[in-house]
Amino acid sequence: VTAAVLTGAAWTVSGGIAGGWPQSSILGKEDNAEQQSALPIGTKGLRTLIVEARTFLACAAAARSRAGLDGVTRDPTEIGIVCATANAGLSAFREQLEISSGETRHVPATRGPQSGFNAPAAQAAIYLNAQGPNVTLVGGATAAAEAFWIGIAELELGAAVMIIGAVDCAPAQSEPRAAALVLERIEPRLRSTRPTRRISIHRRTEQLQHADLQHVWADVDACSFVRKVIDTLPGSEHRTVAITCIGGASEVPPVVVEPS
C-alpha cells in the first residue's frame, strides 16, 4: 500500500472555478473571478491557451491555494502534475486541420503544440513552475484512477507535491469541466497544521477487503472520478471508503479515502 495526504482541491461548476476544499461551502461567482485573476498569467497569456488548458490551470492553481501552498517556498523540481482527459486539445487539432486546408488563418503558431492531449498538464507546469513529473493519461474514470496510481508512485520516488486532476470538454458542452487536488507526501507536521485526508492505493484489487464502504462506478468520466475522491469524506460509520471504477480497458486498484 502506498499513501499520501490530500491537502487541497478545487473543481469547476458551469465552467468556472466554483468549488474547493478544505472550505466546505461552494464559492460564488465573485470568488471565481478572484481565482481567475489570481492566476499567474496575464490576460494576453490567457488568450493564447486553449480552453481546456486554461480551465485546468485555473483549477490546479486554486487547488494549490486551498492546500496552503501559495507563497510557500519549495523546490520546483519536487512539484509534479498528472492530468487525465478524454479529449483535451481536440479543438486545437481541428484548428490545425483547418489551417492546412486553407479554411482558417491568423491562428498563432503557438497554438499548434496545444493540439496534443498533454497541453493542460504542460501549461499548468509552465505557469505554476512545476518542474517535477508531468504526465497525462487518456481515458475516462480508469485514466483518472491510473493518475492517482502514478501520482502516488511519484511521491514514493521523491516528489513532494503532486497535483492530480482531470479536464474534459465533451462535444456537446460549451465549457470544459475540470477538477484538481493536491497530494503531498505524508509528513507528521501536516496533520497538526492543516486539514487533510489520507488517500491510498493498493497494489492489487484483492487486497482491499478491509474497506468499510465500497463505491463502484461504471462508465463515468475522469472529472467525475476525481470529484468523487474529493467529495468522499469518511464518517464515523464508514471510516475507510474505497472507490473503484469499472470501464475502459483497464484494471486499476481502488483509490481509498480515510481520515488522516
Binding site: R94, Q96, G116, N134, R203
Partner: protein
Amino acid sequence: VTDSVAVTGVGVCSPLGQREEYWSGLLSGRSAFTAIDRFDASSFVSDRAAVIQDVDVASADVPAVTAFALTAAQEALTDAAVDVTMDGASTGVYVGTTLATRPSIEPRRGVEPAPALPTRDFALLCRPLVERFNLGGPAALIPTGCAAGNHAIGYAAHVVASGRADRMLAGGAEELSWAIVGMFSRLGALSPSTPRPFDSARDGVLMGEGAVFLLLERASSALARGARIYGLIAGYANVSDAHNMTAPHPQGRGAQYAMRRALEMSAVDAHDVDFICGHGTATRLNDVAEARAVHGVFANAGLRVPVTSIKGAVGHTLGAASAMSCVAVLLAMRDSIVPATTGCETPDPDCALNVVLEPREQVVRTAMCNAFGFGGSISSLILRRR
C-alpha cells in the same frame, strides 16, 4: 524502478521494417524518407516523410496507428516467447502516443475520413491491444508528446517492480498526421532537405510513423523460464522543463535534471554511461540545448560518450520516437555495436558531442535514452546490460 525489471521481448513496426530489418537499416545508414502519398503535403516545406509501406493502412479495419501497434505488440510477445492469450490476467499495456487515433478524421487519399471522432476515440488504440492479447492488467494511453514512449516504459517498469502486474507491454505508437506535418512546417521545424541530427548544416526534421513495444517482466521470472534478457530498466525520470510550449530551455535545464535524476535512481555514475541515444531532432535549437544538457551532466565525459540519433533514418515518430531509440539501445547491447547517426556528416562544433558517424563496435553496458517533447515534457531512461 530497480534492476529487477528485464526486457525480454522487442517488437517494432517502423518505416525500415520490423525489429531485425529496422536494426539492419539503422546499421547500414538507410533513411526511409519517401514522398508522402497518403495525403496532399504539397503546400508544406517538405512533402517527404518516413512512411510505413508494408502495413495496408487503407484496408485495415482499425486506424493505422492501431494496426502498427498490434503488429509491434505481436512481435514483442512472440520474441519473448510468452503466450499471454492463455495467461494475460496479470499482463498490462502502457502506450505512449501524441495523437492516438486523431488523424482518422483527416482527409486522406483513398480513405474516407471519419466524420467525427467518437467520444471515446482513445479506446480505439488501447482496447484492441487488450482484446487481441487478452490483457487483464493495467492499461493506459500516456499521451505526453515526443517523450511518451519513455514515459510508458518507465511507468510500466514501476508497475512490474511494484508487483502490480507480472508483465507489461510498453512502448509507443504514432501514425503520420496531415495536421502535424503542417504544424511542423509552419513552426519552421520541418527540413526542406533531410534530417541531419547534430550536423552543422542541420535544418530541421522530417516526420515518421511507427510503433514499438517492449515486454517487461521481473528478471527473476525471466531467468526462471529461461528467457533471453535484452537489458534491464535501471532508472527513469520524467520531468517538466516548465519553460515554453515549443522551445526547450536554452541551457537544457529540464533535460539536465532528468538525466541526473535517472542516473541517481539507477545508482549509475555518469562516467559509466557508454552510449547515449539522444533525442536529436536536427532542429537548430533542440540539438544545441540537448548538447548543453549532456555537457552539464557529463562534464568532460560529454566529449567522450558516443551519441546517436535515429531521426535521420526513421524521422520523428513523436510518441513512438523514444521507444524506437530504446530498441536501438537494446540491440546495441545485444550485438555490441553502436549505430551511426544517419544524416550527420559534419558534427556541429557548437554541440561538441561525440556523434557516431559510422557504426562502431563496442560493448554497451549502460546506456541512456533521452526524449524531449512539446510542452517541456522530458524523460530520461537508463538501460543496463545484464
